[in-house]
Symmetry: C2
Amino acid sequence: MAAYRERVTMKTIAEEAGVTLTTVSRILNHKGGKYAKDTKEKIFEIAERLKYRPNALVHGMQTGRTNTAGIMIPVSTPFYSQVVTAIHHTFLSNDVIMLLGWNPLRADQRKETTERKIIHQLVDRRVDGVILRPSSEAFERSYFEEIWERDIPLILFDREMSNVSTDFVGTDDVVGGRLAAEYLISLGHRELLFVGSSERVSTSRHREDGFRNVLSETANACGQSLDINQSDLNAAVLHLMKQDRCPTGIFCYNDSTAERVASLLTEEGFSIPGDVSLLGFGNEPSGSCPFALTTFDQHPDLIGQTAAKIYLERIEKGSQNGVRYERITPDILIRATSAPPPNEARCSK
Amino acid sequence: MAAYRERVTMKTIAEEAGVTLTTVSRILNHKGGKYAKDTKEKIFEIAERLKYRPNALVHGMQTGRTNTAGIMIPVSTPFYSQVVTAIHHTFLSNDVIMLLGWNPLRADQRKETTERKIIHQLVDRRVDGVILRPSSEAFERSYFEEIWERDIPLILFDREMSNVSTDFVGTDDVVGGRLAAEYLISLGHRELLFVGSSERVSTSRHREDGFRNVLSETANACGQSLDINQSDLNAAVLHLMKQDRCPTGIFCYNDSTAERVASLLTEEGFSIPGDVSLLGFGNEPSGSCPFALTTFDQHPDLIGQTAAKIYLERIEKGSQNGVRYERITPDILIRATSAPPPNEARCSK
DNA sequence: ATGAAAGCGCTAACAT
DNA sequence: ATGTTAGCGCTTTCAT
């Protein structure tokens, strides 16, 4: 339509001002400070009046710099949303905007397609760099290469990749596990249980490592482990709870598992935290849980902020510095599912 | 560096294949189907081998179509995150990717700067259209005009603007209010209280309207209203609760208000839902609330999906159809803070 | 079935 | 202090 014709470009401004395109370009981009004051003022006035807006596509193509960051995170959970919000906050003051894509939480059949598709969308739009959380720990070399080969800075968060060496920011899961154990032990618990997942491999494993490390350092403390992917977790938990020396403190590798265990135990007549103390991880309540769960804050804001800072450094300074590796210490949020253990061993029902 | 030189463009492919750039362009874009099979195959083979990736910046600049959507939502809350996730899901299958910016939840001093800045970032990158949630109901005409004037389709969600006529998708707040009242009445409650906010204007007001409409249609039901922005909300609530015929059912316009009221009432010795039933709205638990709150699901997925569909239609068909206006009916999530009222009027403490 | 040429809106030498 | 010229990587007439 008409609007097409009316589009105001630098050429429009140049004509109106009676100067060349080059002059307009340089003035508007604050380059070459040696322009006459009135020329400058005239250009700015016209640009403003005509509501000129630069074409960032062209600018990006010309300069090789788009001021656009590619972000890929798993399907919305509060944690990832908060990380991205923090990234955005840092970007905003640096005039960077993000192209955002969601990958599946974990690798599946279509993951290959989805993740590669998103990466292509980002690469094709010439993002300056990429921040992402891998959906799995291995095998995606191929599309990481799509980023590498183009010399695009890549920052991983939340989950490392075993076969790629690049900047990383995540939670200090080992310390998280330690803190969980130390807290339960400080309350007086000695029989502990860890419920983890062999799927979200490293995070769960690290939390378990930290947890068990403390146990092995503590006299007469002992712990067992269960995996949520085993055939009948509920039965396994109940089996343990009916033993003579049943666990009085349970640490679950995430909140949804903790909520699941909470409802199981409640149904079976256990009181929380009267009989059993229960810890989650991540601070991601579902809303349908009738407990204020004691859990851990992963400081998503700090993770996002750190990732964004590393990103900006990479963009400015390139790959001259070595690989950055940051682990943020989580903090316990003591709420209503943890307390000292019951005095008598009244567990066996 | 070297990588710069090595960058593979259509020209690279053309040279390697011994044809013109034009040929490569047409074949890779599946235009003009009249090419020799072996030419086509050769081109595709070379493109693949050289890992050619089109330059979307150039393509966008040439065609006026970037397949990029501008999204602006308030700082991350689960609700907005879920809406955006749903939008993304619809976009993914249509090869659209989003440029995402966060605006402040409500208008403040810096809002003008922030929102305008983000809109410029989107416009400058030539997004095909924009989906956003306005941070306030009025006064932003100026930057909406930045979108309008460029004939960029604009879809609003969650909150309408009073002075702009454009596509909109949101929650049916009036029906939500009705459902809240009907539910409480069906439980037997007759003395009701609405706690709203005069700040988040239309949503709270609509919920209140629906709520009160039902009350006025119901024999011997009556209700009062409080505003969270009034000087001492807590005192006002307690004052009401100590009256002779105190409210036995409270509907709060959002979950965080409900949680606040819950903790106030609990501290003051009221039992929930024994003495008082409490409803929230939005299904956004904070995690530190010891209740599974009865609340409303706004179906953020449906809202996002609808917004994305309208967006795609606008992109394809332009503004030929009239303004779209959709309200999604919320559904009650009955959890643990609602029950029939106490038999005796034992409220006055 | 393919090529030549112009141009999108702008930047960046290289002038003067 | 400002203009000229060449291109960035691609699409799109218009030819043949």
